[in-house]
């Protein structure tokens, strides 16, 4: 519960010219990065530098924007623009959702399941044991509002073993993708 009429006085002080005593520094904002299996191999130093520069630019823009914000609740978003990584991720899903024709794949009880269920054909079920008893999930995904609809593991067959940089790293031991390739 917030009072939208309550302006935050502290935001305004940041715009004073620097001849005045400096306002207290804004609390540090941490970094936000995302890795994905297709593009994020171990980054080159140049890539790291580029990323840091971009990050800085974004942090600065964020700080700029923050100064313009007035009410307390508004630490969140300026004028309806999606925030950082949420916006970036949203674009991906939105394009995917709006360009596809929906071919709903359903399970035995007509429950919606992800299309990958059908694509993979013969996955009758992936059986797990829990508390001594057996049950299985259908593939996750295609659910209204997207909350957990079940969804689970195509049990990762064998996580790949990679040995670059002298380490032994297995991936794919959580969740549903059979393997994400090497690291």
């Amino acid at each position: 519960m917030t009072n939208p009429a309550d302006p935050s006085a502290s935001n305004e002080s940041a715009e004073q010219p620097s001849a005045e005593p400096q306002p207290p520094p804004r609390p540090r904002r941490g970094s936000v990065r995302t890795q994905d299996g297709d593009t994020a191999a171990a980054p080159s130093p140049a890539a790291v530098r580029r990323r840091l520069i971009a990050q800085d630019a974004r942090d600065q823009k964020y700080a700029e924007d923050a100064r313009r914000r007035r009410n307390r609740r508004n630490v969140l978003i300026g004028s309806g623009v999606a925030i950082g990584v949420v916006g970036v991720a949203a674009i991906v899903y939105w394009s995917a959702a709006s360009s596809s024709t929906t071919a709903h794949c359903v399970g035995a009880n007509d429950q919606p399941v992800s299309a990958s269920y059908c694509d993979n054909g013969s996955h009758i079920g992936n059986f797990f044991f829990f508390g001594g008893s057996q049950y299985h999930y259908y593939y996750g995904g295609n659910v209204a509002g997207g909350r957990y609809a079940g969804g689970s593991t195509v049990a990762p067959r064998n996580g790949k073993i990679s040995t670059d940089s002298g380490k032994t790293i297995r991936r794919g031991g959580f969740g549903g993708r059979s393997s994400s390739g090497s690291s």
Partner: protein, 418 residues
């Protein structure tokens, strides 16, 4: 509590999409009488007194839940929860260590009068967060700027990260030097899990933590270091996972996950007071902090409903609930202990039964007295009330045409008027 109508903003779809609400059914009207997932043509209005009362009930429920966990662990009732034995000690240690916890969502039955009743507690991987925290707030700012809303979810999340940050690995007492990895599962293809995680990542960054997001499928296990690593092979100190513990422990890496939990039973509160962080307090192994912590396995399990009733019989915020058989109940709803999204639910009444499909339930059932959801203009709202840390911080309402809130429900915003 009133259900009211208002013409949607002209470009409502563009607005909510831009704000990140792009889960598949945001806009779908697939032929039948389905509504869009985000439906701002209706909204609920509450009075402030009502909200304050609900808020107090939520915090009481939360503390009853913590007491119930204490009881379950002290009496080792893990079997009642269908939890495999290899998890018992890790759960107990995680509780005794006071592993940090971020958030949860109580689903309540409330008809505008009397006590709200607990339907269930989504304490491990709650979603519908972005719409509750961001989308409905922006809607209120656009159309009812003069009114209030039960919603400080965002601020409290940031505060909570700040509180937790000081005791996370890598911290030097302040939050600034800790890195937290955020994971979601690629199994969820509409984007909801990824976006929920991305949003939480933003709240942590706002609290000064460095954050890295990746799919849980991309986590690597480093045999040499006996630790989890990200795609850049950096060892992970703190992992937020939007992925249920009960799935995690059954995955091939599940045993490794339990191995990475810090050993020892010292409360991290004591440690952080002494300026020591959790991970360095172990026995020299690499240890990880998991958020939500392992003890949430008990809270996210519907067996907790029966334990709550047993410990607080007759409490006005609880519905009678029993484990494994209906006990004295004649009208009840049978829920799988580990079910989600209204799957495998059976409502039994004198005049018949109603079941939903699904594939849960092998681990057993909980029987809860049937108390039909209230009806507002033909719709049945469920109040999703958010807890961050130990505080009640906000509300999101989902409505459905039927009596089980499932994947076809719609989210509607709310305001506090007077």
């Amino acid at each position: 509590m009133k259900r009211l109508h208002r013409t949607p903003r002209d470009n409502w779809l563009d607005i909510v999409v831009e704000q990140g609400l792009v889960y598949e059914d945001t806009l779908l009207y697939p032929g039948d009488n389905r509504r869009p997932y985000w439906d701002e043509s209706v909204y609920y209005s509450f009075e402030m007194d009502e909200v304050l009362l609900l808020e107090a009930q939520v915090e009481l429920l939360h503390s009853m839940c913590l007491d119930a966990i204490d009881h379950v662990i002290a009496t080792e009732r893990y079997r009642d929860f269908g939890i495999p034995e290899f998890c018992w000690q890790p759960i107990k240690d995680s509780w005794n260590r006071n592993d940090p916890y971020l958030y949860g969502r109580f689903d309540l039955r409330y008809d505008g009068s009397g006590s709200a009743k607990l339907l269930e507690y989504n304490a491990d991987t709650p979603t519908t967060l972005l719409e509750a925290s961001v989308i409905q707030w922006q809607w209120k700012q656009d159309v009812f700027p003069e009114l209030d809303q039960w919603n400080s979810i965002h601020e409290r999340l940031v505060d909570r990260w700040r509180e937790m940050g000081a005791s996370l690995p890598g911290s030097t007492g302040g939050p600034a030097s800790s890195t937290v990895h955020f994971t979601w599962t690629n199994l969820e293809t509409t984007g909801e899990d990824h976006l929920t995680t991305a949003y939480l990542q933003e709240t942590a960054a706002e609290a000064g933590l460095d954050t890295i997001g990746l799919a849980i499928e991309d986590l690597g296990w480093d045999e040499d270091l006996q630790t989890f690593v990200d795609l850049a092979e950096t060892p992970i100190d703190t992992l937020f996972k939007l992925y249920p513990w009960e799935w995690l422990i059954n995955d091939p890496f599940g045993v490794n996950a339990l191995k990475t939990l810090p050993r020892g039973r010292v409360s991290n509160r004591d440690l952080s007071a002494a300026g020591v962080n959790i991970a360095s307090a172990g026995d020299g192994r690499n240890s990880m902090v998991w958020i939500e912590p392992a003890w949430k396995m008990l809270l996210s399990n519907k067996a907790i409903l029966a334990v709550l009733w047993q410990l607080n019989p007759g409490h006005p915020s609880l519905l009678p609930a029993y484990l494994d058989d209906p006990g004295p109940l004649t009208e009840y709803i049978r829920k799988p202990k580990l079910g989600r999204e209204g799957a495998n639910v059976t409502i039994v009444k004198p005049d018949g039964t109603l079941s939903t499909a699904g594939e849960y339930g092998e681990e057993g059932y909980v029987y809860q007295a049937f108390s039909p959801l209230p009806e507002f203009e033909g719709q049945h709202p469920v109040l999703g009330t958010w807890v961050v840390g130990d505080e009640s911080v906000g509300l999101g309402i989902r409505e459905s045409a039927g009596l089980v809130t499932d994947q076809t429900s719609s989210f509607t915003p709310h305001v506090i008027d007077s």
